[in-house]
Symmetry: C2
Subunit: 240 residues, 2 copies
């Protein structure tokens, strides 16, 4: 089970920021997972406030009327501010903290990576449909997307999309790939067959699971399987 | 009428790039307009190939199977490559060419600007509906978005979103604002009333129209009115 200290966002707002960034996160939410990975990769100091999506505090809704999640609260010249959208938050962190740059310094490669992050939304949609239909449908979108990323790894000829270590693209897609392993709980043989179709991507997944940053916020396939089996019967919107 | 040299994308592909970038553009397309503004703002050397959206050349479709427009063709280590998505293309140009930086150097302001560019999509949707229904509907989305940008200018206390000169956010939203002036041809009184509701934004629009970059690629309200009156009866998809 992933481990991080967290506080529960209760009826009164948290104090002003001191020396830490503050992430408002719904447990198991993959977009928040993205931000957790980048906070960790950048070795930022942060604290996590866990939100109950069915019971968002009034003070949180007042500062976030569009009810976006995750939110990163950061210090600025004009006081503590909320920042939205996982990709924007993660790019902000990469620019703000010089340590361990995650984007390529080549603007063309960076642009390509941004397009691939957007392209990956097809797999997110496929996963949503798959998990939401008792793991029956949506696999076509997943396979088509994996095919693109498989070929991209072959072209790049590197272990990671980021080169010899994970970069922004690796971490931006990882939360949904980590969840895909739950399909092994559904049908082990079918899942393992995919390794031969996507050998580079399968190796990439193996490597990613050994990454310090990934390990810090990882859940097991069984944990995800248990979660998504039940989550399907819950109210949606924050779950994938 | 906006003026730029252009070539027509014909049945045979253009030669390899030499000293210029190459934009593939559908005339009057606002996303391509974004790229034209940034090419100009960065003083890049470029040529424009005009595409007929109803008759895209085979070689173009082969290199761009998702039929995305606009496309910027750029030189890379691995030969000439196509780059897609107006926002990604424009950020690429800003990073690649050091002259006249268009994004804020403050990562928080840059992140805010990116969110506002995304937020502006509501106005794009509103305009699409408005222009597509004989200028009758969609104005609610337009008004709500203008309200956000009006307040943002007030908070920033500057002429432009970018400060004392237009920046990335200014140029990213400009193509649709320039087109909105056509509504003055529909109902002059109603249009002019809006000036008092959005005084900062109205002044911003006046300033923008005087900008060297904007002027280079500007069309008049009458030209847009004429175009969109007719475009509504055409095949859509590339027109707003």
């Amino acid at each position: 089970m992933s481990y991080y200290d967290y506080k529960v966002a209760g009826p009164t707002p948290p104090p002003a920021l001191t020396d830490k960034l503050r992430l408002y996160h719904v447990d198991m939410n993959p977009y928040g997972h993205r931000v957790l990975l980048i906070l960790e990769a950048k070795k930022a100091k942060y604290e996590v406030y866990r939100l109950d999506p069915l019971n968002l505090p009034t003070w949180f809704k007042a500062k976030n009327p569009r009810l976006k999640i995750p939110v990163l609260e950061i210090p600025t010249e004009h006081g503590d501010k909320y920042l939205f959208e996982s990709v924007v938050i993660c790019d902000y962190l990469d620019e703000k903290y010089a340590a361990n740059p995650l984007h390529s310094r080549d603007p063309y490669v960076k642009a390509q990576d941004r397009l691939l992050i957007e392209r990956f939304n097809e797999l997110i949609k496929g996963s949503l449909e798959c998990f939401d239909t008792n793991f029956a449908f949506g696999s076509e979108q997943i396979i088509q997307t994996l095919d693109i990323f498989e070929r991209e790894l072959a072209v790049r000829g590197t272990y990671y999309f980021g080169g010899d270590r994970p970069g922004m693209l690796d971490y931006m897609i990882w939360p949904w790939v980590e969840r895909l392993y739950l399909l092994r709980c559904v049908n082990e043989r079918k899942f393992d067959e995919k390794r031969t179709i996507f050998p580079n991507f399968a190796d990439w997944g193996d490597q990613m699971q050994l990454d310090r940053v990934v390990k810090k916020h990882a859940n097991s396939p069984a944990e995800y399987f248990e979660y998504y089996k039940n989550a399907r019967t819950h109210t949606m919107g924050y779950y994938l």
